[in-house]
């Protein structure tokens, strides 16, 4: 799509794009190129010189059992976060869709958690499950269950998943609600006249119509769980116990800044870059399709 009417001149437009161009080059392309470049070297411990190792960092990473474990952790984590944020959101959206008159109030209330930063959400959930003072862990203790996410891998994962999914429910709810509202009422009425009950109508008529939204949300939520959950993990578990909640982004941070292993951290950045690239292409392909519908 192109404009038919345009203005003449080239100096002015170049000045107009200059600010964005300069910022992108300095804070984006140069660092990204640096990451690729550094991933080919192993710096000495004093940072004075670096030895070229080609793809050595990558080979090392792919054979490193901690890195591979981090891949599995990331996969488990993002699948769980996506499920835990989409299923309740869809359920609430279906309920809100039935309550046309009062859905506005519920919507206002449900938007709240979206505004809560992941790191703050992490603090709230960590507080409830704190082994010493947490109210939920205390009641679990009364029921005879000894909650300790500081030591238990599964409980740590469960807690970071719930804390990450919590704020996302608002987001997914808004999109599902909008999608449900746009399902033509006549189609649902036709189903009702044919005698289909509510759940039957939902699965046979409504769900297929909102599949594009669901698929879109799935991709967006996976991307979210890859990158924006750093705050949750850092506040609740710091990647522990051992490495049970060290997702890929967390490992880039902990190897690069805590472990000072710049070569490996850069190589990890490059691998992540390829992953996000693939996810973005999936997303755009899908968006393209949605536009043509």
């Amino acid at each position: 799509m192109e404009k038919r009417v345009i203005f003449r001149g080239w100096l002015l437009p170049i000045c107009l794009v200059a600010p964005q161009l300069i910022i992108s080059v300095v804070f984006f392309f140069y660092p990204a190129a640096q990451a690729v470049w550094q991933s080919l070297f192993i710096p000495d411990p004093f940072g004075l010189s670096a030895q070229y190792v080609g793809l050595g960092n990558f080979e090392y990473l792919l054979s490193d059992k901690y890195y591979r474990a981090s891949f599995v952790t990331t996969a488990v984590f993002s699948i769980l976060v996506t499920l835990c944020s989409m299923v309740p959101a869809l359920f609430l959206a279906v309920c809100a869709d039935r309550l046309i008159k009062s859905s506005g109030i519920y919507r206002t209330l449900l938007i709240w958690p979206y505004a809560v930063a992941p790191a703050v959400a992490g603090v709230l959930w960590m507080f409830m499950f704190n082994t010493r003072v947490g109210i939920i862990s205390w009641y679990l203790g009364q029921l005879g269950y000894d909650w300790n996410h500081v030591l238990n891998d599964g409980e740590a994962m469960g807690l970071v998943v719930v804390a990450s999914a919590w704020g996302r429910i608002s987001y997914n709810f808004l999109f599902f609600f909008a999608a449900l509202q746009s399902v033509p009422k006549s189609v649902i009425e036709a189903g009702a006249i044919d005698g289909a009950r509510f759940w039957r109508r939902f699965f046979d008529i409504v769900l297929p119509l909102i599949t594009p939204t669901a698929f879109f949300l799935m991709v967006v939520n996976v991307v979210y769980s890859f990158f924006e959950t750093f705050g949750v993990i850092h506040t609740i578990t710091s990647g522990g116990p051992q490495q049970a909640t060290t997702i890929l982004v967390y490992k880039v941070f902990s190897d690069g800044f805590v472990g000072q292993d710049l070569g490996s951290s850069s190589a990890q950045s490059v691998i992540l870059l390829v992953l996000v690239g693939a996810l973005t292409i999936i997303q755009f392909k899908y968006v393209e399709k949605r536009v043509h519908y």
Partner: protein, 284 residues
């Protein structure tokens, strides 16, 4: 027929069940926020001897005053101001550079236009988390650690807003630009008099989204603000926890958590329509 209508229009018992389910859902989702609020109004002893109360106490002012004016490492008021400047800086900075470059891309044909378009397209793909180490080095080499420019600039280097404005400018009728040209108006006149006023709603919607994006940043401020005076509130909360075996000052920390969520919540709730619109737009 009567039965079918009943099902579609959702009356009677069904409606009540739905309301009950909805209210339960809202309560469950709200519980963490409620509990944080309660914790911010009681005393430390009440929290450290579980179970803590689930109704607010009467130490609201005391705790909030302690948080705002003394905090743990730095007064929370300072962190709030830092967060505010960062969030507003990111929102306004990104909107300005994106408006300008989108205008250039849509209304001009200049050398390198396609190249530039692809350059910004690529920036869509790389969140700051992926390039933190080298970006940190760049910012450090400019001496921008512990500065507002250091907090803001790397986070506005992304093209989502440019795409949004480009999309919108495409829908502005050609007749308007034609008329402006016939009248002999300069491009920037057209931009200020026609394009900007028409984009008002989009700009506002985007501002809401970007403000929250900026406010909620965690990793970047964590890396580049080593001076507590420059901490933002979202990253500062974690710094309030003692590192050793000391017991955390829960009432003050929870008061800070509540303070950290108030500005974005106010923005989202008071500009709900714009927010929802911005959300839907920016994901297209």
């Amino acid at each position: 027929m009567a039965e079918a209508q009943g099902m579609v229009q959702k009356t009677g018992a069904h409606l009540w069940i739905t309301h009950v389910l909805m209210i339960t859902g809202v309560l469950v989702i709200f519980f963490p926020i409620w509990l944080a609020f309660v914790a911010s109004t009681v005393t430390q002893p009440e929290i450290v001897s579980p179970p803590m109360p689930i109704l607010p106490g009467d130490h609201f002012w005391e705790n909030y005053k302690a948080a705002l004016f003394s905090g743990v490492n730095v007064p929370v008021a300072t962190m709030l101001i830092n967060s505010l400047l960062m969030a507003i800086g990111i929102a306004i900075g990104k909107i300005i550079i994106s408006l300008l470059s989108a205008f250039a891309i849509v209304y001009f044909r200049f050398p390198g236009r396609t190249f530039f378009f692809w350059l910004i397209f690529i920036t869509l793909m790389l969140p700051v988390e992926v390039r933190i180490v080298p970006t940190y080095e760049v910012v450090a080499s400019f001496g921008l650690l512990n500065s507002y420019s250091g907090l803001i600039l790397p986070l506005i280097a992304s093209a989502t807003a440019t795409f949004l404005f480009r999309q919108f400018f495409m829908t502005i009728p050609d007749e308007l630009a034609e008329a402006a040209r016939v009248d002999g108006a300069k491009p920037m006149r057209f931009f200020v008099d026609i394009v900007l006023p028409m984009s008002r709603t989009n700009i506002a919607a985007l501002f809401v989204i970007l403000f929250i994006y900026g406010w909620n940043q965690y990793l970047w401020p964590l890396l580049i603000t080593t001076d507590p005076e420059m901490n933002t509130i979202v990253m500062g909360i974690k710094q309030m926890f003692p590192s050793g075996d000391d017991v955390a000052e829960w009432p003050v920390i929870m008061a800070t958590s509540i303070l950290a969520m108030i500005p974005p919540v106010i923005v989202v709730i008071s500009m709900q329509k714009l927010f929802v619109r911005g959300l839907m737009d920016s994901e297209k």
